[in-house]
Symmetry: C4
Subunit: 313 residues, 4 copies
């Protein structure tokens, strides 16, 4: 016998969390309000993962720091080989032995090797060999990480600032709007929307989860904006709910969305969440798609993704 | 309760677009006739995405321009260090100080470092260190992007120039033909065909969408050509439609197709569209598969993918 | 209405091929006996695809040829700059101007730049700049392709030399055996088996296709060998077929198999085919799994993947 | 007719293994207790696969060894060119001809080329060309492998040390707990649990397999820990089983788990196994999720993933 999984439970945050958390589970940006403890530094902290996720300025600063550090280190080591280890032009205006050694290291690490300075004796030559190895391997690693940073597909979906609950085809519906703000196309976009709220259960409160049925649960093409709609029919857990009840139950709508990135042919995803106070009752999204202009193009104004009008009673 | 999604609505262009557009939605080449506005330059414009999509000549020209520019910049900086910053051979016929500095920069950026010219003093050496860093990091980025350009799987499906509506197994059918024009094999090819057309609704016109049921909706192997067929039975939205009605309703057939690229083991996709005036009534595709020759091979002539004959009444 | 696709037609070689081919469609190694004509050289021939698929010796020979060619080219160009363009040691025993220029090019392309030879004058220096650019870009491309060659996941499934039709659980079954001969694990292995055979249809012959139902159509783990079994029950197109009938109908069993490669976390696939004369009636595969030895290991002898015994009548 | 595949058989270790093995099939770490024999060295041993799977210290040592070896080789070759092949400073304190040649090779392989030593004559120059080619190609390969090592997504799921069989919602259930110990998020986690045990069948014993139905067979988000539960209802093969029976039947619970790695957007997987003596009867997992602290965060203590308490009778 296959045990039926009730849709309401299918979203996947474990029961234990459900009972104990009261704050927001997903931040507006989709990050989890969760901390994992009890792990050693190297177990949980994946250097590579971190190097992938830092911004480009941080990444480049890091590389520059590493570049200078390695040259300081090897510069010091060349210096330690004694005064005759590096042959230099006699009239060199740069008389500091450290700077001499440092810039010799630069020429070696960068595989330039002008030769106006050159190593002399076994220790200096052995250091050159070591630095050459560091240069080759280090550069291979940097190139690998630089590429991986590029190749990582990231969806940049903009979600409307608020979700709406508004009249919709005779009933009401919960809806929010999304747009792709990258220039690459997204295909086969599939959202899943889950409602989490507190419920009185005897004396204690429990957190319950419902997956919300969507009017349309995928689109093949996503060139413009898309208003994702959960019709509040009799089967909906939102049936008859008021704004006050939604807030009182500490409700949170969690969204998980996958898509196929056309440029990279990889599956990308986005997450977001709306709390009860980010849901507006009795409003409609304003049209953000302009009529075709002389070129026959359709235009969508992504800035106004969250624009809405209150509906007259 | 799970809300049933009618196949006709499942294709995924939002209703708002549907109502307002009149021109072609997908170009013949599968690009969207859509513009996203209201985004900052850096939000929507992904430099990496652009670098991936430009042609190789443009890409290489860009690299060459960057190479020259960086050398001009560093050449100017070496020049600014003053006349004694670069030691040069006394009998150098190239007397222009700028060219001397420019080519010294080339030797440094390219990590060649012949050494007939070499830096002298702290400023020149510091510049060398900076240029060496630029060289290492810049090269890593270029290698990364070059690889990403290679690794991006792209399906090159050729679609017949026109689609046909022709007698088919007792009824009629809408059909078009595709072939893979790359040498890599495509597997598990899955097309989806959607019809979009205008419809009078009271006084105003609306655009309606129908997903068309296909005789066969996937093939595992795709070594030759494939004629994709939508039989026009009683359930088809094309049932009884004439060429004039098709044109009057501003009909557009949109095609979305995924496949597994054998070489890269990645999912690739193609898009295309036929407008009403690209549909020929009463025609059959001509056979483009030759009988096996002496080697036992089957041969398909991809040039004639769109070749058709009018059927006699 | 959704048109039902009969399993027998679902394998995906188009009808036109079916009617016209008589030889083998898939070679024993899974390649198609198919040629695409009518394409321009650059349309069908993907240089990158080719560079990915050639063997390593060919690939390295190609690189070596390119390396020498570029150096011959630039050597000739340096030579064309005239006798004073390269400053050389006076006592150089290598008096051939071409070799002098060639090896200077090597030092430049390889970014070594010892400096015992150095460029003199604008033309030679400009050539150095050009060669440096060629070196940087060329190397980035080579590194990219080398990586792509590595990263391309390839399943290496060994198929038994013959397929068997033998008694099986009261009825008979069509079966063949596979093993993974790479050291990386394959997961979620899913084979699809299709039968193609000729059938008399009035005066002409047609080729018909049947997808064969498998006793088990996927395995999660695939550490050993797997005998894939199609039970020949009443619903099987092989029901009651004899070896002679199989040969007379020019039957071919085509196999398509996907799996998840553990090392690369990518979907890989393999193809193979058995013709009627590669099917043995009345035989069983010999056991190739040894009892666990002292270490508790199970051992599978992949060499004997095709070993079988005739069953006594 | 489609042959129904009984869930119990769906896990995918072939019957032959089942009958013959008695030890553990999957190690605690998910590796197979299986050896493939009969393959040539190069057939089964994928150098690339091996280079991907060794640890970083081993990988770097290997590179260092290769670096030294190539330099020893080319050093010896330069030496073989005779005493005049390398021009050196007259006052070089390093008088060993081998070390002179070795370090010249280092400067060449590393593309440094200071030039205080330089090649003289055709043989030495030809060697330089060869070493330059080795340098370029070798480095491209190393960069490719280094990147591939980085890019390979690996899930690091920690499994509880033991599985429990304990009262659960009126009946009992088999359960174990998992946590993600990497800093990257895992999405759409899907476990499959299979029971393997020996059964008397007439005089001989057979090994039978059952896939265990799970209370919830996937979670979309996996920020914390997850207790995977198989309820032991009447349909469960564990119905009524005692600890003694479990051990006597040599039972093993095999777990296979896939997830989508957020950072790499690739499917990753993990495997594990519990033997009968790693299953504790009558125990509950201890809560490892702390109440939200002042920051509103939920905290999970991954160290205590396996912590449990015996339940009072």
């Amino acid at each position: 016998m296959r045990i039926r999984i009730k849709p309401a439970e299918d979203f996947g945050i474990g029961g234990a969390v459900a009972r104990e958390t009261r704050g927001r589970m997903l931040g507006r940006d989709g990050r989890f309000n969760v901390r994992r403890s009890g792990l050693g530094f190297f177990e949980s902290w994946s250097a590579y993962h971190w190097l992938l996720n830092i911004g480009w300025p941080t990444f480049l600063s890091l590389l520059a720091t590493a570049f200078v550090s390695v040259n300081v280190l090897f510069g010091a080591l060349y210096l330690a080989c004694g005064p005759g280890a590096l042959i230099r032009p006699a009239d060199d205006p740069m008389t500091s032995p450290f700077w001499q050694a440092f810039f010799f290291s630069v020429e070696t690490l960068g595989t330039i090797g002008y030769g106006h300075v050159s190593p002399r004796g076994l220790p200096a030559n052995a250091l050159v060999a070591a630095e050459s190895f560091v240069s080759l391997v280090g550069f291979a690693l940097v190139a690998g990480i630089a590429f991986a940073r590029f190749a990582r597909p990231v969806a940049k979906i903009r979600f409307s600032d608020v979700a709406l609950i508004a009249p919709y085809q005779g009933i009401t519906a919960f809806m929010f709007r999304i747009a792709n703000i990258r220039s690459n196309e997204l295909l086969e976009v599939r959202p899943r929307v889950s409602l989490s709220r507190r419920r009185m259960n005897g004396g204690s409160t429990e957190r319950e989860f419902h997956e919300l049925a969507l009017e349309r649960d995928n689109v093949v093409f996503f060139p413009l904006s898309w208003t994702i709609v959960h019709p509040i029919d009799e089967a909906s857990p939102l049936n008859g709910v008021t704004a006050e009840q939604l807030k009182a139950s500490d409700a949170e709508f969690m969204i998980y969305l996958t898509a196929l990135d056309e440029t990279f042919s990889q599956i990308v995803h986005a997450r977001a969440s709306y709390r009860a106070d980010e849901v507006v009752f009795g409003a409609r999204f304003r049209n953000i798609i302009d009529r075709e202009d002389e070129t026959g193009m359709v235009r969508v104004d992504v800035r106004r993704i969250g624009a809405f009008d209150m509906t007259p009673d």
